[in-house]
Symmetry: C2
Subunit: 243 residues, 2 copies
DNA sequence: AGAGATTAACTCGAACTGAGAAGAACTGTA
DNA sequence: TACAGTTCTTCTCAGTTCGAGTTAATCTCT
């Protein structure tokens, strides 16, 4: 916010050229055990042909609404997505045409159908995060910020459940951590831990109809609990190396 | 960011009226063991006479530079401040005059002199956070977000050292946690913990010249270490209650 | 039927935690 | 000066949590 004094003192259309505000969304999902991000292909200059994060102008709406709207326009219906503000990127020169402030959002989605090629995007598709480099503008930086946020956030919040369906097995949940962290937690300890953290997951009483693709018994099905933070947290194995 | 297609499709000066971008800074410090926030008094409408967070327009500079500049204008020189982006608040109607996007920043400062009554602000002063209510615009919300960020961040980063001087005692550091969390950690366990976390604090070899005001031996002096995260983390006592 | 894989549960020692206690050092006051 | 009270620092101890490994049971595929 701004005080009126500052507003009046500072207001000079030439000194403060028009500023555009957009939202860009880092949408993450897991497909076949690999973390993917939703990208659109740019059809025009600048950066024609390059991949970019989906996004667009903020209209007469809240920022959260703008992010949700952009996401819906790119991917169709979005059930059970978690959406949170990530950070704002507004350095001069990040867009060659004018000063553009981008409010970046981070979305966690369960496996979704291929994005509908409607909306504003010329083409939208899921790209493995390892292959998502050389993006337009400063979107490499925004994506990196989103990935780090995701990696940190599943440690102490139950957001990993936003990547799986309504009902899931502990192995599927472990697969989320493996995909996001890039390393696999110890299966036995992971099992013990998620069951012991209050409110993380609830037993539905049901089991899967079949065992795993490569064998093993049927596993119990769980649903997300009502905890909003995980205590104690599930720390990354690599946290040890930070010492 | 925005793709050019979206830019061209969406551009309509009447549909997207001018947007102003400001930075507002939640500056926290500890004075006499109490957490304070830096506020300015508004001299003009709207919200004349009410307190608000210091802030102002973003010029031809990065957002970080804008936050640092505003802070410097309000408080004079700022040695050893930690500054980080907090969140962006841009709901329609949060400013009655026009659409204003506020990129909020969070600053941790060691005890500073009274702010210089220069800069843009009519009057600037440190206010205990408990008394900082009824602020102008949505600044109550921004302050609350800053406080929660601060409480969480000193758990797993060494940022508490940003509130104290170059050299400090463990008791002073404990005072930071007490002021920010609103509850006092167990002195003995706190002592053991901060010494055992690698890179948190380093022994200078020196001690204070005097004991505490109310007695007690001289205490060792420490300086901040080079760790960027604390592992294991220093968790809030009240974290237990979240179960 | 058999090989291989997986779930789920258990064991073990190491590390960490909260709570309390105790000794030494120092202050201000009687 | 002596004393009461406060504080820094270290230590103890039991309970909890952790990483790593093991095991039994179950299931799929060949």
């Amino acid at each position: 916010m701004v005080t009126e004094r500052e507003f009046l003192d500072g207001y000079d259309p030439r000194a403060y050229p028009a500023v555009a505000v957009t939202v860009d969304v880092v949408t993450l999902t897991i497909r076949d055990g690999v973390l993917h991000v939703l990208l659109v292909e740019r059809g025009e200059q600048p950066h024609a042909g390059r991949l970019a994060l989906p996004g667009g102008f903020v209209r007469e709406e809240t920022l959260d609404e703008a992010a949700l709207r952009e996401l819906a326009e790119e991917t169709g219906i979005l059930p059970r997505v978690h959406l949170e503000q990530l950070a704002t990127f507004g350095d001069p020169g990040r867009d060659p045409r004018m000063r553009v402030m981008s409010v970046a959002y981070l979305a966690f989605a369960p496996r979704l159908p291929e994005p509908t090629v409607g909306g504003d995007a010329a083409a939208a598709r899921w790209v493995p995060v390892a292959a998502a480099t050389g993006l337009a503008f400063d979107h490499d930086t925004i994506l990196a910020a989103g990935l780090e946020r995701a990696r940190a956030k599943i440690e102490y919040t139950p957001l990993a459940t936003a990547f799986v369906g309504e009902e899931f097995t502990i192995a599927q949940l472990r697969g989320v951590y493996t995909a996001v962290w890039g390393e696999e937690p110890h299966a036995g300890n992971f099992h013990r831990k998620v069951l012991s953290v209050p409110g993380f997951i609830e037993d539905t009483g049901a089991t899967t109809q079949r065992g795993g693709e490569r064998g093993g018994p049927r596993s119990k099905l769980f649903r997300a609990g009502d905890a909003r933070i995980l205590h104690p947290a599930l720390l990354r194995p690599s946290a040890e190396e930070r010492r």
